[in-house]
């Protein structure tokens, strides 16, 4: 080959490959290899290439037939640890190229998977005490993946949030005396068909069980139906009842609570039921026995862990829609919580994977 002949990319690659061969064979030191690689890769003519290969036994630069296949294999071999590649890259490439059938253009999928799995195994094999690097890499990769998975999980599944509303029912007649009620029955009994009758019979004095009647009233189909349509036109009473719990606390307090996947969801349910109840009572009052709803106190609770809850009290006066609730724990805090757990799990999985990979291989193809 004439020294003035222009060299191609393939010629430069070939010269670089040969330098690696000579390095692997111990003819070049690491520094010499680097210097000569620089010369070879910058070579313009065959004369330059000959300079890069000077003093090395008969390896004339020859054009390669399988340029794209060889590049494909080299990309896969890049997954191996550098210290391993320095010694074995050319050797493995030779085996891969020899095994490749004529006309093959790129590495197959199974072949690629096998090389990557092999690379992982070599990373984890304790060669000269440095196999721990692969183990560490896998553990950190697992931790990072776990962190991302945990964060994504938290972002997509915020914990259940509960909203409570306490409705204080103070019955007052126009003359300042408490209104009269007569019948007090457990809510389970009051629910349903007898509700209307009960409301019409409310003439007795406010008693200890009075709020039970009020609770039953708030839970009645009519109040619930109005509340459901206020939350969302398409919402069924059944859905709303599934979210909302109503409980008589004592003789003046009634609790309405709701759970939702977001605080906003829980609060809209609770607020709708409370306001629907107020509207109903005020609309149905018999003359002379008016019920005044003094105020509504709302609270929020985040059951983040069993046994832990955080109440944030706020006051909400009857008729107002914006309760002015304090914000709860931010989504970021939850993401960090779950992400941390995910990272821990990921690290564990990575450690197990590393342990499995450093064991003898069980994978081989059976035809």
């Amino acid at each position: 080959m004439h020294d003035g002949m222009r060299a191609s990319d393939a010629d430069r690659d070939s010269a670089a490959a040969q330098l690696h061969v000579h390095f692997a064979a111990g003819r070049l030191t690491r520094d010499e290899l680097d210097d000569r690689l620089t010369v070879a890769l910058r070579a313009v003519t065959f004369g330059d290439l000959r300079l890069a290969l000077a003093g090395l036994p008969g390896l004339a630069p020859a054009p390669r037939r399988h340029g794209s296949l060889e590049r494909g294999y080299r990309r896969l071999l890049a997954f191996y640890p550098p210290r391993y590649r320095r010694v074995h890259e050319e050797e493995m490439l030779a085996v891969l190229m020899t095994a490749a059938p004529e006309g093959k253009r790129r590495p197959g999928l199974a072949e690629a998977a096998d090389l990557i799995a092999g690379a992982l195994r070599v990373w984890c094999q304790p060669s000269r005490g440095r196999g721990w690097r692969g183990v560490l890499a896998l553990i950190s990769a697992g931790a990072v993946l776990g962190l991302l998975a945990g964060a994504a999980f938290a972002a997509l599944n915020p914990p259940l949030r509960t909203s409570y509303t306490m409705v204080m029912t103070v019955a007052a007649a126009p003359n300042g005396v408490r209104s009269e009620y007569r019948i007090n029955l457990p809510p389970s009994y009051i629910r349903g068909a007898e509700r209307q009758e009960l409301i019409e019979q409310r003439t007795s004095v406010l008693q200890r069980d009075e709020t039970r009647t009020e609770a039953a009233l708030a839970d009645s189909r009519e109040v619930m139906a109005a509340a459901a349509s206020a939350v969302r036109p398409s919402m069924s009473v059944q859905t709303l009842r599934g979210q909302v719990r109503i409980k008589a606390v004592n003789d003046i307090w009634m609790w309405i609570s709701a759970q939702g996947t977001t605080a906003a969801q829980a609060e809209s349910a609770v607020s709708a039921v409370a306001h629907s109840y107020i509207a109903y009572v005020n609309g149905k009052n018999t003359p002379g026995a008016r019920i005044l709803l003094r105020h509504i106190v709302c609270q929020r609770m985040w059951p983040r862990r069993p046994g832990e809850s955080k109440f944030i009290p706020c006051s909400m006066h009857a008729g107002t829609d914006s309760p002015g609730i304090e914000p709860g724990p931010s989504l970021l805090a939850l993401v960090l919580d779950t992400g941390g757990l995910g990272a821990l799990c990921g690290a564990l999985i990575g450690a197990f994977a590393a342990a499995a990979l450093s064991r003898p291989s069980r994978r081989f193809r059976v035809t």
Binding site: V21, A24, A62, G118, A119, V122, S361, T367
Partner: protein, 110 residues
């Protein structure tokens, strides 16, 4: 103290090298031949196994050759490698002997 039994690819690689030093591609074709074409090692699997066997001192590099600008590295069995293979052969043959004897009894109960 008994060592854990060798996995099939490892066993076949050591068997291939028992015939003498071979390079990577030689081991691959030899393994396919020994196993009657049943086991075809891929390069990634082969070299991961060779690396481990070298770390364990069961195989070592014999020599290097450059053929058609490609590097060929030959591997050979070390004395501990040969011992390990012999122990495995011993173990396997004892097991197969027992199996054969029992199968014979099964087909010929008298």
């Amino acid at each position: 103290m008994s060592e854990p039994s060798l996995r099939e690819p490892t066993f076949l690689i050591l068997t291939a090298l028992a015939a003498g030093a071979q390079h990577g591609y030689g081991i691959m074709t030899d393994v396919a031949q020994i196993s009657g074409g049943r086991v075809r090692l891929r390069a990634g699997t082969l070299y991961a196994a060779l690396n481990r066997l070298a770390v364990e001192g069961l195989v070592e590099v014999d020599r290097e050759e450059i053929v058609d600008t490609r590097l060929r590295r030959y591997y050979r069995l070390t004395p501990p490698g040969a011992q390990r293979l012999a122990a495995e052969v011993d173990r396997l043959s004892r097991t197969t002997e027992v199996a054969a004897r029992r199968l014979k009894l099964l087909s010929d109960p008298a």
